[in-house]
Symmetry: C2
């Protein structure tokens, strides 16, 4: 019997949960997005479940229409650094934008977090898709999509370069001779590129992982190319096993074309699991949440998915009108997703907004722990993914259920760890510590 | 009998201590600047001593000649957020530059830290004086001194504005009606100025202190003006009580001219205390540290103080040559300090480098706990300052001695708190929570 492939698991923590109306649920702690004790509890639960990592999204702009979870929230580096102090194994990953920051700051913050967590930091590289972000950063125009990704690629290169500023054994600290470090082992990067010129060295020693883990979630052509070139973990929204298989294969092939080992890239679609002891119970739970969506909120989210198209003149219980994808400024993959669902499943505007507003386009699962374990195994066996980023609709309930009911099944089946094999995020993912570019 | 004035106390944490050769001391943990357990212990000791705050310096550029403590170190936000988890009262303050960051990021990180520490954050506003910092941030020219301070003033205004984005009671979270927040209590800043245009709102709720405490350490005319206009705590390097009195009076007068209450500004010079049970013991300790300074390191620091002037052709045991202050690019107050000492006390180059290299220009005290308590009381009574930023030459020893031997004396004399009066940094400083500009 060949050994079954281990599933990789992350949990995407977000306020009261990923369902847009979760905060209205009677059990939801409505102040969740800025409640530290609550985040500590979630992090510790995820660690009890031996999950590979927890994940925080981020954005640098809000408006009055934002999801309550993201309206106000902790800044990710400060939150993860706090969570690092109450956990010991789980990976701590956060999103940071390459469009509105500087490589020196980002390199430094992740390196510092990697030290403070003993090697558990990961960076989800995003280019920031919200146009209005530019207005919070002195109105430099929001770069167009292609240029954002060009900047991102150079940004990641600079950050990796800065992470190599110091060789592992650079610090001698010989009290007798007074030699604190070996000058040959400190390196200036002297990067001069299109978007950045950065001398270095970074003022943080080489971090426990050598390099924090690089995560990417782009799904346009440029986004996928950046992922295939640089990412070690890839998040994606995939609703059907077939399209997930295509995505998986295309990314891994592209990675090979860049000279990378496809085994060293973990592809992890989001999954939005509504778990019940019976299918019936799960369905009822889902309906309960769906019924909490306020129509104007739901419609607004659908409109945003479609790039701001105004649907208010169409009946909620009628079909989606014909829309011009080219004319829209939407995230292309999201636009296509909605249009495909509308056509394939004949969904009404109300059904569509309930679908996207609830899970924001991620794979919705409704069923028992056994069924969820089956589904996960099936996807991994069929090379549709290497694991999942769990997006519980309602927290803490959804995470508790996952850890207490689904994890033990996966463990029994031999597809998920019973104990952490190590203490670094790289170790969890079976990734080696990269060599410093300057080391012999 | 009138009640004596309470002394305010901070501790400036830095690797193995503030003496440039402290890392060579037999008891120094030479890896201190990146050792989290060590920082936790220091923070807890400072809190045991009921100190108002701990303070972290920062810089965004290094070279091979940097002080070992600052060569590599933790990034301040991530470090303070970790320390917030192992302390409950002490203020947590960090330096962040207005020249190389964006107000949205800085506003957000301090607001987040203020939440994660339940109201203990403070920001030391600096303009970054190291020229080469520009080279790590895509070579935008290092702004000239006056423009740096113009930018800083606007930067602080924007940050304060962003901190008012949400009124205290903006979040209704009415599950029944579905109203998450009161739109009237969320505010866009819509700042458009010379250096920044920032729309807002900030994506962090109003923080426990309303506004983190603002600290400033500039000592040029522009620096002092910014401090008098915006700072609630002012750090300064003062070596003599007379000049400290002048500084104190001029800042407080200037503050009044800006319509501020001078009582709400705490002026805290750095002090570099070498404490012994006897004066003799203290002197021996100091000599021990001074003898650890490597001449080339010491001379280099002196040269930097003088703006990079080359002294290598002058005998170490001879006088400082005549130098042209105008031609030098040095921090003016430092240049003057060195020149004054050289003339007044007839110091040789070696004596000068020992003086500045050891304490980097801060007030050096050598003596017993009683004598130190006397000195502190004297300065505060004579309106030379409101308290001190303790800069222990050697850590953890210097902080342990201060907390165990000096604090009890100050407490017995009724000039220092025996218990914290509250849990926020504002409370420690007797500062009220500022009203939100938009609140009625
Ligand atoms: C699981 C997941 C998490 C994401 N988190 C963020 C985030 O926190 N912030 C953000 O700006 N974008 C986030 N994205 C969006 C992606 O980074 C990317 O912008 C989006 O998938 C569109 O890709 P494209 O620009 O390549 O079309 C996330 C996407 C996924 C699938
Ligand atoms: C106690 C103290 C701490 C300081 N910490 C920093 C620091 O961490 N980073 C920095 O760039 N400058 C720091 N400075 C320097 C001041 O911000 C300022 O640049 C310096 O005093 C020169 O002032 P000027 O530019 O107004 O002449 C500090 C100064 C003092 C007195």
């Amino acid at each position: 019997m060949t050994k079954k492939k281990e599933i990789k698991l992350g949990v995407f923590l977000a306020g009261t949960g990923h369902h847009v109306a979760s905060w209205r649920h009677p059990e939801a702690p409505a102040d969740a997005s800025m409640n530290l004790d609550y985040f500590k509890e979630l992090a510790q639960t995820a660690e009890r479940g031996k999950l590979d990592m927890l994940f925080l999204a981020d954005s640098l702009s809000i408006d009055g229409k934002s999801h309550p979870n993201v309206l106000t929230r902790f800044e990710p580096f400060t939150l993860l650094s706090a969570l690092a102090q109450v956990t010991a194994h789980i990976g701590l990953t956060a999103t940071a934008s390459t469009t509105y920051s500087e490589p020196f700051h980002i390199a430094r913050q992740f390196a510092s977090l990697d030290h403070l967590s003993n090697g558990r930091a990961g960076w989800n590289v995003v280019t920031s898709s919200i146009e209005s972000t530019a207005l919070n950063f002195s109105g430099e125009e929001h770069l167009e999509h292609r240029l954002r990704y060009q900047r991102a690629e150079e940004f990641v290169e600079v950050v990796k370069g800065l992470w190599d500023s110091w060789e592992e054994d650079a610090f001698i600290r010989d009290k007798e001779s007074g030699e604190f470090f070996d000058k040959e082992k400190m390196h200036e990067l002297n990067h001069k590129g299109t978007y950045f010129s950065v001398r270095g060295p970074l003022n943080v020693s080489r971090s426990p992982q050598g390099r924090p883990v690089i995560i990417q979630a782009g799904s346009s052509g440029d986004g996928k190319a950046l992922a295939a070139k640089t990412a070690e973990v890839i998040f994606t929204a995939q609703n059907h096993m077939e399209s997930a298989r295509e995505f998986y294969q295309s990314i891994k092939e592209q990675a090979v074309s860049f000279g990378r080992d496809p085994e060293k890239i973990a592809i992890m679609p989001g999954i939005f699991p509504i778990i019940g002891d019976t299918e019936e119970e799960a369905k009822t739970k889902y309906e309960e949440l769906q019924d909490l969506i306020i129509p104007s909120v739901g419609l607004n989210i659908l409109q945003n998915y479609l790039g701001g198209i105004d649907l208010s003149s169409y009946p909620l219980d009628g079909p989606l009108p014909e829309l011009d994808a080219e004319a829209s400024n939407a995230v292309k993959s999201r636009f296509k997703l909605v249009q495909d669902m509308a056509k394939r499943d004949n969904m009404t505007i109300r059904e569509l907004y309930k679908y996207v507003a609830g899970s924001r386009g991620h794979h919705i699962f409704v069923g028992t722990p056994e069924q969820l374990a089956d589904k996960m195994e099936e996807w991994v066996e069929n090379q549709a993914c290497d694991g999942f980023n769990i997006m519980p609709p309602l927290l803490p309930e959804g995470l508790n259920l996952f850890v207490d009911k689904v994890i033990p099944i996966l463990q029994d089946r031999g597809v998920f760890r019973k104990e952490y094999e190590g203490t670094t995020l790289r170790k969890h993912f079976g990734l080696e510590k990269p060599a410093n570019r300057y080391a012999e």
